[in-house]
Amino acid sequence: MTESFKNLWHPIASSEDLQYRHIFQGQLLGRELALWRADDDFVNVWENRCLHRGLRLSIGQNDGLELRCQYHGWRYANRSAGCTYIPAHPVDAPARTICNRTFPSVERYGLIWSGEDPVGELPEIEALENSETLVLRSISVNAPIELVLGHLANYRFSITGDPDNFTTTSRNFLDERSISLTATPDGGELTVVFFVQPVDSNRSVIRGALCNNPLGAERLRTLRHHNEELSRLRDMVELEALDGPPLEPMVATIEQVPVSLSEVETPSGRKAPLRVKVLRKWVTAEDIVGLELESIGEPLPTHQPGAHIDVHLPNGLVRQYSLTNAPGDGLLYRLGVKLESDSRGGSEFLHETAKEGDVLAISEPRNNFPLRRDTVKTILIAGGIGITPLLSMAQTLRKDKLDYELHYFAQAEGHLAFPEILRKLDDSVVLHLGLSPDETKGELAVLLAEYETAMHIYACGPGPMLEATRHIASDFGWPDEAVHFEYFQNTIELDSSSSFEVSLARSALTLEVPSGKTILEVLRDNGIALMSSCEQGACGTCEVAVIEGEPEHQDVYLNDSEKLAGQRIMTCVSRAKSSHLVLDI
């Protein structure tokens, strides 16, 4: 029986049980579940077990967008159940593969339905389809489901709630765990449907729904009447169950955490494994379109603030776009794309050709611009379309109640992207409109004049503005590690004339890098697929640790002290000053 139950949809809570900002503790077929309603009304049904140390998620906190485990504060996103934040590693983005086990959920007839492995859609329940229903108080019974169902077959109730006026009923088993009972007094008709939830081998919950929704005092009287009758029934069943044979508790299999979680991710080059549909496209500001991408099939992987995706366009181009929405916010990615006047076909395609309903190929989200959350204050500096990653950050900081300011430099009001989100961030947003480059520098000098420990700057915008930010911050004593940049592109003039040798320490391989070829290309030619994204020294994806030798940096991703330290290299553009480099791959 347990096996066939696994393929059924079971009601495991009532809609009323799942109040906002609450986590309901449930169980089905021996498996404990944590159920929570997000602020967008999505009902999450998850294994009641934090992936980290196995603590019950039901004692955690539901903040409307994420569920936070009470033990070490790991946070998991609405819908995807992907981990968005690990407080012990406030600087790092959690691995994309850290994701709680989810089960399907449907909210219908005032009940929450789920199942271990339900086959097909939730079937229509005719009796409940055409009327307003009143969900009765659920009754937990310490008895096996068969025993409960047997007694429910003899359930009698009074339509008026009057204990002297019980009605004979006709009964109809709908399937192996539900029954409908109909009373037909004086030509009228009233049906109640009961579902018995198999909690464990010796535990069940009776969930009833009445095909009528009386109001006021009658409603309360009806609820009390059924509660009284069902409690009486429960007491009888429990007594009887004491005489039954002892039952072994059901054992739910807990999925092992994938071994890959403890391994270093295998580099795989530029891949676009995800397919998304353009759900919405709209003009959000002058020359900027907003795009909402929704998954086709599997839910989209969870992203962290600052993350970007590669969009592989039908014309063969690969472009990086930051995600503007906060983690846990819906089952979609939101991008802002500016039409570049010198577009080589990337932004032009998304502006002019892409339409709502089109399918695009994208990479999984990557985060080379991770947001620290162990800060006393964060200053976000956006120039033009550089607002996109900072919007995701600002929403996250606002939700976490961390002190921040978002400074948005733009030509004019019409150039402000996503005004509806900016309004929501209200007094933390400062607009700087129509400033000349010199005025911008002056303004930056005011903003960055005071540095304190644990303050951080995140800046994204045109190259000259980022360079100005870098110099001004340095002048005011900001250490390099407190100032974080995301460049649109690398404007350094690349010199690929040198030739040198690279030894790969882990692969025990030495290769020649001739002039005109990058380290990345040479590695690829020799079957070593390193992960990469922008391939122009801006995004940081193809970074590798340097063990020996002196790199010749030509990227804009590393900061000055990182470049000076010489311990890391962007293999897509940077080369060697020495004749030999030893890399940690």
């Binding site: 900002r21 609450h22 503790q25 404990e32 906190q61 903040d63 409307g64 936070r68």
Partner: protein, 223 residues
């Protein structure tokens, strides 16, 4: 200032800390070496409470023992609104007394089971657990019907009373005594509501709730 003879892991001492935090009454905690020192059973402490248990308060020379009695005293003396111990409403004060007596039951079953598990007290653990489940079943049904009438608390007023403070700690720590609350969804929701009372305090094993949902303002988009 009020002195509270206190032990951080004691559920009955926590009831006093919680009440005083909510009423914003400053107090000084006099730590008693309850475990493993059994200081409350010693000759010195018996001069303060001959029954040899905590909590005890000393409010400027006025000494009072027994957790639920102290709650009544604190609310009567330090709550100018009169809502926590509503003596001016006969029905409500009757209900409050009824549920204060119920709290004696939850203390002697659910919290006793916890003492057995955590500190090795010799109680009949199965009797404690069965008794706690019997009371939780009654309370869950009661609170479920309260919700149907849009009422949040144990007593029928719109404001919580000392009865909520007396019962809550026994309930929220029950799992430490091996008493699951999965079968009591309305009881679990009520514990969230208690945690959202302004001035709420935690103790080891009791965690804060998330913030309640505020409705979006006009024209605001969900982001």
């Amino acid at each position: 200032m009020i002195k509270l003879y206190d032990y951080v892991l004691s559920v009955n001492c926590y009831k006093q800390r919680l009440m005083m935090s909510i009423l914003d009454v400053p107090f000084e905690s006099i730590l008693v070496d309850f475990y493993p020192g059994w200081e409350h059973k010693g000759e010195e402490f018996k001069k303060i409470n001959p029954l040899g248990h905590i909590p005890v308060i000393d409010d400027d020379g006025f000494v009072l023992r027994d957790a639920h009695a102290i709650l009544i005293y604190l609310a009567s003396k330090y709550d100018p609104t009169g809502l926590w111990y509503p003596t001016n409403n006969p029905e409500l004060i009757g209900e409050t007394s009824q549920w204060m007596l119920f709290a004696e039951g939850t203390t002697n079953t659910a919290s006793a089971a916890r003492l057995h598990v955590n500190l090795g007290y010799e109680f009949d653990i199965e009797a404690c657990r069965t008794g706690a489940h019997r009371l939780f079943r009654v309370l869950d049904e009661h609170l479920w019907f309260r919700e149907q009438e849009n009422l949040d608390w144990v007593c029928s007023g719109e404001h919580p009373t000392v009865a909520d403070i007396a019962i809550f700690p026994d309930v929220i720590l029950s799992e430490e005594g091996g008493i699951a609350r999965m079968d009591y969804p309305a009881l679990r929701r009520w514990t969230d509501r208690v945690k959202r009372i302004p001035g709420f305090e935690t103790m080891p094993g009791i965690f804060p709730a998330s913030e309640p949902r505020s409705l979006p303002r006009e024209g605001e988009v969900h982001v």
